[in-house]
Amino acid sequence: MAQTQPTVVLIATRKGAFFLHEKEQRTSWQLSEPLFLGHMVHHMVQDPRDPSRLLLAARTGHLGPTVFRSKDFGRQWFEARKPPAFPKAADGESGRVVDHVFWLTPGHADEPGVWYAGTSPQGLFRSEDHGESWESVAGFDTHPLKAAWVGNTQDGTPDGPKLHSVLVDPRDARHLYLGMSSGGVHESLDRGATWRPLIGGLQVVEPMDATNIAFHDPHCVRLCPTHPDRLYQQNHCGIYRLDRPGETWVRIGNNMPREEGDAGFPMVVHPRDADTCFVFPMDGTDVWPRTSPGGKPAVYRTRDAGASWTRLDRGLPQAQAWMTVKRQAMAADSRDPLGLYFGTTNGELWNSRDEGDTWQCAWRNLQHVYAVETAVTPS
């Protein structure tokens, strides 16, 4: 069902977070005062089961990582009593340390209060009390093959290896997916007690061995709400679709224009149409600039599950615009027509109110945007 309330864009940046409130049917916007000014906010997410609740992942350049919670849509914030942290190592052994909480996912609709968090380095945590306290998901973090999956620190991204894209099957709270950069895509059928890789068909950087899970780098994995057996993925090495119970990803990025390529960070699925999704290509040639190819930013949309793609750049700069959009920095609302949003590392927030056909810059002069999500004001 399409959203009828105004959209609030939740913007997480390197220097704090912001609410961007819709005005006049998404043609103008009002920015809040900064939240947690100076904090590195990696993600801010609304709880769809209780829209007055928000969770926010933060650290600073000096201070360690934590999670803040709000029960009144951001008026007051309280820190988690027990933030995500790896178990203490035995004496004489070195233990892992959470550098930052990177990803937040609300649990299943039937499990109010449950949240998942993905961290850097790769760790999976679960809260059963609305984010107040977090426990390591032992079935994942102590999995005997985890070390082989995540490789060593050099296998991570420049800002540290990450666990991201924690997905909960809306039909079954026990059915989870996650992605790791690096470390591949994994699936659990028992609420995280056991896991197995799901990397069939995915390519890795040549000449590396695609059977080595540590070489797999899914940038962003999404599940279609209206068709939960369908997953899309923007990978370091292309754009893919997987239809379960299939086990082999199909590289739908091969249908992108050759000059554009199919590298990128974010991927967004249409909340009402499993054949429609969106990507924001980046330059993955040479030294991997990770900027808009040719300095000409565009969103690409497919309406046929990746068989064909349409370039959408009306309203976007037509030249000399070297945008980077990170994996969490693109989102959709659920209005009709669909609204789309992306934030750039140079502090711009762009929006479309016609499913990507045309774009406007909603706000400039923010900070390096880490994540963009959408929310609605609680009634």
Binding site: M40, G64, A80, R96, S181, R327
Partner: protein, 90 residues
């Protein structure tokens, strides 16, 4: 034991720049700080009980990283290192 609190942690101490905490070791002083101001310790000491990279702790003017060091009297200072900026890309 008097403990100097840097600006970045004063949200925990009600904006106080100096507080009192008890303990015979540095770790015990930090534990007492955390009892008084929940959450403060984890922001400066990681889950493996190491001082975080960009935090410095001084006991009576001497920098220490061993939480087991004994403290008879004096003061503790928690300092944000000048190296605290973090470069990021992903």
């Amino acid at each position: 034991m008097r403990v100097h609190i840097p600006t970045a942690l004063r949200s925990y101490t009600g904006r106080q720049s100096e507080v009192e905490a008890n303990g015979t070791t540095l770790g015990a002083v930090l534990d007492d700080l955390d009892r008084q101001f929940p959450g403060l310790r984890f922001r400066i000491i990681d889950e493996q009980d190491n001082v975080r990279t960009h935090i410095k702790l001084f006991v009576n003017g001497e920098q220490v990283r061993d939480l087991g060091i004994g403290i008879a009297a004096g003061e503790v200072a928690i300092v944000m290192a000048l190296s605290g900026g973090v470069a990021t890309s992903r």
